[in-house]
Amino acid sequence: MPMFSFEQDPGANFGELLKRVGLSPFGDSLPVNEILVPHATTCVALRCANGVVMAGDRRATSGNLISHREMEKVVQADQFSGVAIAGAAGPAMEMVKLFQLQIEHYEKVEGQSLSLEGKANQLSMFVRSNLPAAMQGFMVVPIFAGYDTLLNHGRLWNYDATGGRYEEHDFVATGSGMLHAGTVLRMGWRRDMTVDDGVVLTARALWEASVADSATGGPDALRGIYPVIASITSDGFARIDDARLKNTYDEIAKGVGQQ
């Protein structure tokens, strides 16, 4: 059982604890310049009247090949927050796993949850410690969103590869399809949107991104694969089920057909 002297004690910091016991996955600089690893793409999030909506497509690509059709890029971090990731799939998934663990570890050691701001800051440190790997092509760029139980509204954060953390007030898009998805959000976003409006708008944003960007997957009715869309409100994190997304995309397809 790991026990530490007073000076060596890592406190509630799980990353530091991993370093102390020699299990840290960060900071290893790799001698390779470029390896083809699966990349994940296009995630969006927006703020609505009573929370946030996050969405991400399901495709992972290695160069021009589709390496995975049903990757889940929007992940629940804890009861009131979620992370969406774009970038190299391996490091990104590892980062999300560590982030979830860090939040839970802190809560158990300290006896209370981190504030939403604290969680956003923690994620920024994880992104920054991935910088050496990002320089070699394994970039990870997440979005963090959640419901702030102290302020009683939804909040969003965007990151860059150096760990820069930027709070957004309306909406945010990341990944290779971010330009197209971002434009759809900019056109459709309204301050008083409901969660349901938000689900439809993010679904539409991913649709347009998948039409114009080969690395973003659209809804796959044949295999029954739809983007992961989730809402976070005062009731907590809730994933929108596929049956509802199927209807949403049928409507969008009908509209496009009529054009």
Partner: protein
Amino acid sequence: MSMPFYVAPEQMMKDRADYARKGIARGRALIALQYIDGIALVAENPSNTLRKISEIYDRIAFAGVGKYNEFDQLRVAGVRAADLKGYQFSRLDVDARGLANQYAQILGQTFTHEMKPLEVEILVAEVGLTQEQDQLFHIMYDGTVIDEHQFTVLGGDMEAIRTRLVERFVPQASLQDAVKFAHQALSLNDQQIASSELEVAVLVRNNSRRCFSRLSEATIVQYLA
């Protein structure tokens, strides 16, 4: 040069055990008992912030009586061991038995090799998929591990409280009844413990990942009414 007095090992161990027992007896007691949907942990604790009962992992809870700083240190070490194991292998590989053994090592080591034994008694509880799979490991100040069934009592006045609990306990009780039984058993000399001085947490046998939760003071008041 002065020679230290010879102390027989039996005497030394007895002195240490007496010292630890006295320290533990000063603190207030704690009960863990099965109920129909899980395990309830009930402690007499006047503080609303310094906890005796806490979460270690998905299905595992920790409870300690005795000296607060000592069992809290053990609690944090347990959370670390569990989170590291779950990270390194799988969440399914973290179990109460493994943790109990590690705790027993630490307590046993400290008891024989350090100046002062730890003045604590701890409990590692794990809720299983069925009531038969529930586990309660009661670990003493000297590292003795007791694999308890159905219920266990930690801390001062253990025997008297156990006797009172045996009279009432039924494994098929509802949570409300289980909390009532524990409250009655803890209230010795027919002096009822105020509901504000009760700390109650549960490990609920359900489908969610994290089974541990605390009962709010309002709920406790309602249960004891």
